[in-house]
Structure formats: structure tokens, C-alpha cells
């Protein structure tokens, strides 16, 4: 069960902000601690948006696997596409509730490659990386998505394809994803090396290294 009660509990430190009553409180138990609901879809990216045409896009699984796999855009679209209703939570404290994506389950992709390690590094066009445990990528928890709310995923949001791991903070859902490298050890990705938490569970408020 999620820690719904957190937001109502009196703070342990006893500190109260003078004159603060909280006018935006939604009372929505889908919001993890410290998050607020955002109805738009803000864009957060460390650099310029890369221009990747679907024809140039491919997805590969390599590293410690029984058999490396690679899909072109057309091959990828022959796989079973799922509709994924979800809430997404950005570490900068906005959450978008009740959105949806369309894509292929990472379970299906990893099954074909047969991972031999317990960790993976997602890598993207443009050089972005983020690390995930295989456990966070399997059992219906992660997808490679090409659609958002029924439309092709826009480049600013990671189009043509991004990873979607909605149970972790959204930086783990790598935009412009190009593949997964399976590893026998864990290693920090881009934001994880720049001060952000190694796993990033929003319900535990794992924002930064020391959380």
C-alpha cells in the first residue's frame, strides 16, 4: 500500500511554515509525498532535443544476454502494442495523473534476449543513460512507448520512442531510447552520477543520493 497518510501526518521536526495553509492541496491519494498535480506535460531535458526519424530509429538489447536483439522501427511495430494507463512523477515535484502511453512491454523484449545479469543501463540517442535493476524493468512495470494519449510521441517528450517506467521518477523513463545494456553489476547513469537517487521510488521520496 502506498503511504497515503504521509501528507496528513504532522511533521516529525515540528517545523511549521508561518502563515502557510496550502491552497492547492488536492487530497488525491495518487500523489506521492512532496508532489503536486500538473495538468500540462512539462519538458525536462539536459540538452537539445535530438531529431530522430522513425526510419533511423532502432532498439537493441545487448551486454550480458543469451542472444543480442535488435529491432528496426517496422520490426518493433510488429510486436504486440499495449495501452498503458498510468500516473507519472517527475523529481522536480510535478505529477501528471491519469495519462496513457502506447508501447511494447519490456518483458517481451527481454524474454527474447534472456538477460544473464541483474542490472541494465538504458541508453539513448544523444548519449543519455539511466540505470535500472532488471527487477524494475520486468513483471509488467516497464515499456518502450511510441504513443502518448493515442498520438505519436512528440520529439520533445522523447519521440519517436522512450522508455516508460512509471513506478519510478520520470528521469528513469529515458527519452529517445536506443536500447538496454544488460550488466552483472549496477552503475550510475547520467542523472544518477549527477546527484540523483540510484533507484528513484517516488513513494519513498528517493530524489537525491542521500534520500
Amino acid at each position: 500500500m502506498h503511504e497515503v497518510g504521509y501528507r496528513r501526518r504532522a511533521p516529525m521536526s515540528g517545523f511549521v511554515s508561518r502563515g502557510f495553509t496550502g491552497r492547492n492541496r488536492g487530497g488525491d491519494d495518487r500523489l506521492p509525498p512532496g508532489q503536486y498535480e500538473e495538468r500540462g506535460f512539462p519538458v525536462l531535458t539536459a540538452g537539445p532535443t535530438p531529431d530522430i526519424q522513425p526510419a533511423e530509429w532502432g532498439f537493441r538489447i545487448d551486454g550480458m544476454v543469451a542472444e543480442e536483439q535488435e529491432w528496426t522501427w517496422d520490426e518493433f511495430h510488429e510486436l504486440e502494442i499495449e495501452e498503458i494507463p498510468c500516473d507519472i512523477h517527475c523529481v522536480t515535484s510535478w505529477s501528471k495523473l491519469g495519462t496513457s502511453f502506447g508501447g511494447v512491454s519490456v518483458d517481451l523484449l527481454l524474454d527474447r534476449a534472456e538477460p544473464l545479469g541483474a542490472y541494465a543501463m538504458a541508453f539513448s540517442y544523444g548519449g543519455y543513460t539511466t540505470n535500472l535493476a532488471i527487477d524494475d524493468l520486468t513483471d509488467g512495470k516497464a515499456w518502450v512507448v511510441t504513443e502518448h494519449e493515442g498520438e505519436p510521441l512528440e520529439p520533445a517528450h522523447g519521440g519517436p520512442a522512450r522508455l516508460l517506467v512509471p513506478h519510478l521518477y520520470f528521469w528513469k523513463s529515458a527519452k529517445w531510447v536506443a536500447g538496454l545494456r544488460v550488466m552483472d553489476h549496477d552503475e550510475p547513469g547520467f542523472w544518477e552520477a549527477n546527484g540523483y537517487h540510484n533507484r528513484g521510488d517516488p513513494w519513498k521520496e528517493e530524489r537525491y543520493w542521500t534520500d
Binding site: 511533521p11 508561518r18 531535458t45 532535443t49 520533445a156
Partner: protein
Amino acid sequence: MEMEVSQRAPGRWQIATVTAVTEETPWVKSFRLALPMWMPFLPGQHLDVRLTAPDGYRAQRSYSIASSPLDEGEVELTIDRLREGEVSGYFHDVVIEGDEVEVRGPFSSYFVWRGEAPALLIGGGSGVVPLMAMMRHRRRTMPDIDMKLVYSARTAEEVIYAEELDGDVVVTLTRDAPAGWTGHRGRIDAGLIGGLAADARIVLICGSNGFVEAAASLAMEAGVDPRMIRTERFGPTGQP
């Protein structure tokens, strides 16, 4: 005092005291905070601020530091009042000198300036805030090295830090310019960015998503390696 030092960590919440409030524009205020567990930071880093209501309800946001890390024991946060902003509204309407606010940080070591030069900074609106930390730090540490700031604001009234902007700053006004305004007008374009970007070793861009996309494209057209362009996009502006 060993104890105190060992407690310093960016992840630890601490209670800061507001030592000064400056009205920068009708919509923007700067808040100088004294931190009991101050830590050195890099220009460009941010703090998280958390507000707590009497019943335990909390709201949290990240704000860029505007001051130089040479101001030991203190940081300045410059806060743009967002429409219906729960936290920015609180800062603007309630917070006065002597108040306490809960903060932690500094965080994020990517959108930072570590002394690279020549540096081109491009800021839109309150995106100028982390860039001002870089300008201020460079002025006090290495005033001779090459750093330029292109700052796009809607009107002269909305220019933050107006009195501090010197010859290394190019301001462009995208809406109304006052009578006698001799500076640039209109949105950033190749004429404004191209030459400066061509000379730059690093380009740091902060603003709304649309602004950052435009500025990054101009820098790339001027031949800057995309890997040397660092961006920070703010704003739950509601724009998809």
C-alpha cells in the same frame, strides 16, 4: 564543532532564516537566506524548499540559487511569482525578513558552470536566475575570462537584476520597449546568438521549453557541438 560539520549534507533539511527580501520586478523577488548548515555549491545548482502547514500538509519546489558560492553561510533565491503558484505565491505574499523556511541542497551537478570559457549564457525570463549566479561568481573570481549573457525579457519592467547588468550582457525585449530604448528588440535570432555562440566553448541555456529549444537550435546552427550545450527548462507552465 566537529559535530556540526559532520551533519552537513545536501540531502538534510535545515531551517534557514530570511535575512533580506528584494523586490526585483513587480513579479519577482529575491530572498537572501542564512543557512545553519551551509555548504559550498556550484553556480547553477538549486535548493529544494518545503512548506509545511499546521496539519502536516506539505508543498515542495526547486529554486535555482542566484548568488555566488563566495557568500559563505548564505544563498539568494530569486522567485518568480507563478499564476496560482502555491509556493511562489507564499513567498511573495507572506515571507518577510526574519521568517524561517525549510530548505535542503545544493542539488544537481549538471547545469553548472565550472569555469569553462569562453562561456555563452542564454536566459529567457526568470531563466536568468541560475545564469546570474554564474555571472556573479565569475565577476568575483575571474573577471577577465570571457563570459557573455544574452537575456530575453518581455518588457524593460520585467528585467531582473537590471542594475547589475554590465557590458557583458545583451538584453533583448520581446514585447514593449520604453521610449529611448536603444538595445535589442524581438526574440533571440541568429544575428544575436550566432557570433557569440561560434566563439563559445560552452553554452548554458535556461528558460521555458520553447525558449530553450530556439536558443539551442541557434547555437547548433552556429556550429556548437550539441554536447557542449547544457539546458535547464523550467516551468510547469501548463504547456504540453
